[in-house]
Symmetry: D2
Subunit: 372 residues, 4 copies
Amino acid sequence: MSNQFKKEYIVVAQNASGRNMNVPLYRFIGEKPGPKVYIQSSIHGAEVQGNVVIYHLIQRLKQMPICGEVILVPNCNPVGTNIKAGEYTLGRFDPVNGTNWNRGYFYDESLIQAFAQSVQDDESIPQIKQRFRQQIKDILAEKLEESWGIGLAQRLNLKLQQLAFDADFVLDLHNGPVSTRHIYVPEYAQSSASLFNIPHVILIPNKFAGALDEATFCPWWTLQTLLSDKRHKPIEFGVEAFTLEMGSQEVISFTDGEYDANSILSYLNAKGCLVKSDVYPQTMRRVATYLKNYKVLYTQQGGMVEYLAKPGELIKQGQPLAKLLNVDELDTPNATEMILAQCDLIPILHFPSASILSGTQLYKCFTHYFEL
Amino acid sequence: MSNQFKKEYIVVAQNASGRNMNVPLYRFIGEKPGPKVYIQSSIHGAEVQGNVVIYHLIQRLKQMPICGEVILVPNCNPVGTNIKAGEYTLGRFDPVNGTNWNRGYFYDESLIQAFAQSVQDDESIPQIKQRFRQQIKDILAEKLEESWGIGLAQRLNLKLQQLAFDADFVLDLHNGPVSTRHIYVPEYAQSSASLFNIPHVILIPNKFAGALDEATFCPWWTLQTLLSDKRHKPIEFGVEAFTLEMGSQEVISFTDGEYDANSILSYLNAKGCLVKSDVYPQTMRRVATYLKNYKVLYTQQGGMVEYLAKPGELIKQGQPLAKLLNVDELDTPNATEMILAQCDLIPILHFPSASILSGTQLYKCFTHYFEL
Amino acid sequence: MSNQFKKEYIVVAQNASGRNMNVPLYRFIGEKPGPKVYIQSSIHGAEVQGNVVIYHLIQRLKQMPICGEVILVPNCNPVGTNIKAGEYTLGRFDPVNGTNWNRGYFYDESLIQAFAQSVQDDESIPQIKQRFRQQIKDILAEKLEESWGIGLAQRLNLKLQQLAFDADFVLDLHNGPVSTRHIYVPEYAQSSASLFNIPHVILIPNKFAGALDEATFCPWWTLQTLLSDKRHKPIEFGVEAFTLEMGSQEVISFTDGEYDANSILSYLNAKGCLVKSDVYPQTMRRVATYLKNYKVLYTQQGGMVEYLAKPGELIKQGQPLAKLLNVDELDTPNATEMILAQCDLIPILHFPSASILSGTQLYKCFTHYFEL
Amino acid sequence: MSNQFKKEYIVVAQNASGRNMNVPLYRFIGEKPGPKVYIQSSIHGAEVQGNVVIYHLIQRLKQMPICGEVILVPNCNPVGTNIKAGEYTLGRFDPVNGTNWNRGYFYDESLIQAFAQSVQDDESIPQIKQRFRQQIKDILAEKLEESWGIGLAQRLNLKLQQLAFDADFVLDLHNGPVSTRHIYVPEYAQSSASLFNIPHVILIPNKFAGALDEATFCPWWTLQTLLSDKRHKPIEFGVEAFTLEMGSQEVISFTDGEYDANSILSYLNAKGCLVKSDVYPQTMRRVATYLKNYKVLYTQQGGMVEYLAKPGELIKQGQPLAKLLNVDELDTPNATEMILAQCDLIPILHFPSASILSGTQLYKCFTHYFEL
């Protein structure tokens, strides 16, 4: 017994040479029915490790029978991947207008409220899911046909969202600047956090801020909350979406990619996507924090900085995070300055360059974290 | 009788060399009391014509007695002005993270509602103004002191907002890409649109979208609406704020600058900021549209484009806006393609480069416009 | 009677998505034998008007019988065309390392000297041409196969040079920043300057500085000089190469493109590439200067600049070229500064942005020019 | 007994805000006479570790008596340091025109030949040195006063060269992309290579290619060669210049900086710049190669790459250097490709991004290396 495999290309843009820019789509269809899974990587062009993870997933899925369907779209942003600025990849935003490539997905709260109104008391969960999916997909199609057109990032995002909104489980593979593994998990799906082999978990509220995971789970979470209220009993659609940050941008590692592919398979297995698989999550320490306690430390000064605290380390209040050099003051006591932790924290990522202006995101840190 | 003049420098950032980056502030204080005026230019680094306008304003104000105070901050964004990418200035957004330099101003609707609650029925307009101003300024100061720091663009914005929120009349001088003169006017201040010599007027609702003009007028408009309701009579604070788009970015013209300085002086004169001045607005055709009818035309295709419709021209439905070349099809009928107007419109600005990807903002157009 | 037409694609690079990047090649082959012509455009990505010229040439050549062969490669640099930095195209150099896209062509003087030695006294001109061409083409092929690889710009250049070195007449279509029409003409081919409808001519010596025109004509000029000496009589290979600057970058115009297509056809006609064509050069004033007298004016200061002298205008010594604004000095006499012409000159192009640092190429100017 | 200390600022440019951009200069003058030393860092803006080295040198020189004079100019390129493109520093070249910041120094071979002619047989070495220095410095001053102006990078370079050409020992502190420590040493000064604690040495010929070290040693080496020939005995001026590559760009380390400061002091001590110092070079393995054997490996393909060979490792022929992923082929055997060493080599540095186009400098490698 084995999966059916298809490879397609989706056109997402056209470049200045007048050429279509497309992205590969790898699709596995199991013999047995089951959930739909959608996994994409590199919506931010410099965050390339997810492509390696998808490479390993494809090798594994060739030999591992699945239930339902798994769609994998590596390197999903062909514009972002190919914009170099100096030796690095300027992949986080459209170089023309600064638009973050991960902020153009569709979400409209009022529409969900209207849909909730439209649900009959006797409508079954599968019926509701099917009808809601169709409605959102109709709107996405309509937006893509808007006669005045839509922006480049938005078109890319909506094209991908068409695939993602069809799925039950959505994984968006990212990287931080210089970063340790972490994952964004919607609060209602906290129990799923332990199905991945990822030590740092950010629990996020049901608030749309533009990313694909939110564009996926916010509608379902909102709808199930409204319907649970209406029917006076808990309704669950079983849809989950996560942003996985697989380590640092601008580097790839095949070994790490295998680890993360395994982590994803253990999640998929727990969710019933695999047929008789023995891939289970590792026993490991997992710490979590709420989004409001995931703090950005901005610099007050400009200068050159040595990052003393490494991502993933436990840092106590008062311990050094970074040491700053001011080249104008090399002969005075102001030549160097220590930046200290204001409270106990775990640095999750730091800025990838030693040269900083004031107001730079130096570190992002877990504060008030707890074990899962 | 003449004005008092002061020149200061405000530190807004620190660069990677560890140096303070400051901006000049020119302040004129009249012998007579009167309103406060705040004018800044070049928050977007490539939009430099406002600096020329301020140059002309300074020459004029040296000889023209004012009532109250006029503060002028040209070139208010020293980071944006100095980031070159190729021969042009990458001045619309922070090159590190894509943050638009004009979107980090502070606004909090709930705070205004709370303040409205706090207003006693017998509190006078000047008292309310003074107290509201102080409260916002206290919050700005507090945010600037945030112990985890704030982002570069936000710090710059809040520093400038401290000056702007103190003023009664705020003018933010911008340029479009390739553009004709136009102005953003809050709907409640529509009558002031005709005090400037600007032929194209966009009427914007009381909705904060991040810019300085909104950060200035939204709080006052919201507050006066709430208090008018509460007191059952119209309350007016007389505060107005506008974004003036003075033509195209990346070019300056001293002649045009003089025209726009005159336009601004005629507004200030009408608002009682000048002592016995004879500068009045020109008699001219002014057309306006509501923000929702100020439409962006995005390209469906990539290629090279000739901009046939010039900013400011009246274009009829079906007339050509642009002609696109596809270098892959030079031997076929698809070599060129006409992009036509979908309805009667006035193109206000167009993209400044012939090379475009799909999803590019080709034109921004007035539709459903009307004469003022 | 009509030409044969073929369309091909040449692979010149591979992008980070692992995709081949190719460029279209349009080839016309006449029924009669005759010279080979090679025309390319947009080696600098923002210089796109040449693509329009090639569009018009293709329309014309479909109906105009030729002798020999004409190869047209529009948009020959797919990397440069598609690198946006802000709204503009960062097309002059490789964004990774700053390498000018027009400086990686092959040239080796010693090799030409050795070849000249190898020429027998009785070898005919066609034989010499054929043998020399083959030798250079062999070296180009060898360099492209170098086992340690070669740089991106160099590979692109050598691929194009393989086509160009096969031709008798080579035209490289460029644009200046903000520019009037001008052409680079090798001194030995001065008489050909009047075959184009281009008013400004730069006469360049036989010195390789990296560009395609030089990489094409320097070997032939050097060889014919050496052989003329050896044989004590003038030898001519009849190979010519020119860089045509068709106006300003970042804009296209179909009307201007038609004018320049006509100008090129009048040159080709004079060179015997067309069958019974009646396209002749216009009678017009053409002025020339030697390369050493084509002067760059660099700024001593930074600031914002209004370009007062327009490209193509005659400017007398002492007349203003540009007016500079210093935003730090708006209240003092140093607010503005005039930059004056040091001698009689014709500005040919100027920098395309109002914002300049010290050491910016403000203008390039004809000095000591004369009528052709 | 202690050194005299002075701090100055040199203006090297003016920015678009019309402000002077200056760089700090730290000068130590010993009580005893002795050689002049000039050390600069960060001519390439992203190569910041040299600033830390200079910081440590200053701390040491405050307490360590010297003979002669030591001038230190950290962060010598205030434009390059402050041009961000995304999170990284676009510091290798002028973002306007692609000019490498380290290629605008002055060198003119014919001038040295003329000078050699002018030397009388009885002119003493100190006299010759003084007169040659003055002549070069006069030319530098003249070039800086050129009435048509000079380019930004060139002005910066000539200003620094004025300081460097006055010195006997010149150290230019750089970093590679991802790199191990290495040093460029002129062949005639090979014996000095072992005075630094740097394991990898590139021996470079007397050929000017634009960098500061060459601009410093080529004139002296050429002159002493010419005069040695003329006088039929070896002449030595004792001037040396080196480019030190201190590890990777975009990071700083205070610990590593201390190591390299010590390495530099051991060289200065050996050259008689320190009074009774006990800083000596470490006993360590040092390998060298000639510049022609310092090979660049360019990629044939585009894709994502894992760098398997670490800088400084010994790699045998046939061993893997890098593993490439092609996202379009994840389901085929072409998904990955190994890039193997063509010969025994030591990778010294590699490209800093996983995303590469074809023609990328993947590795720079020592081949045919030998122990010093």
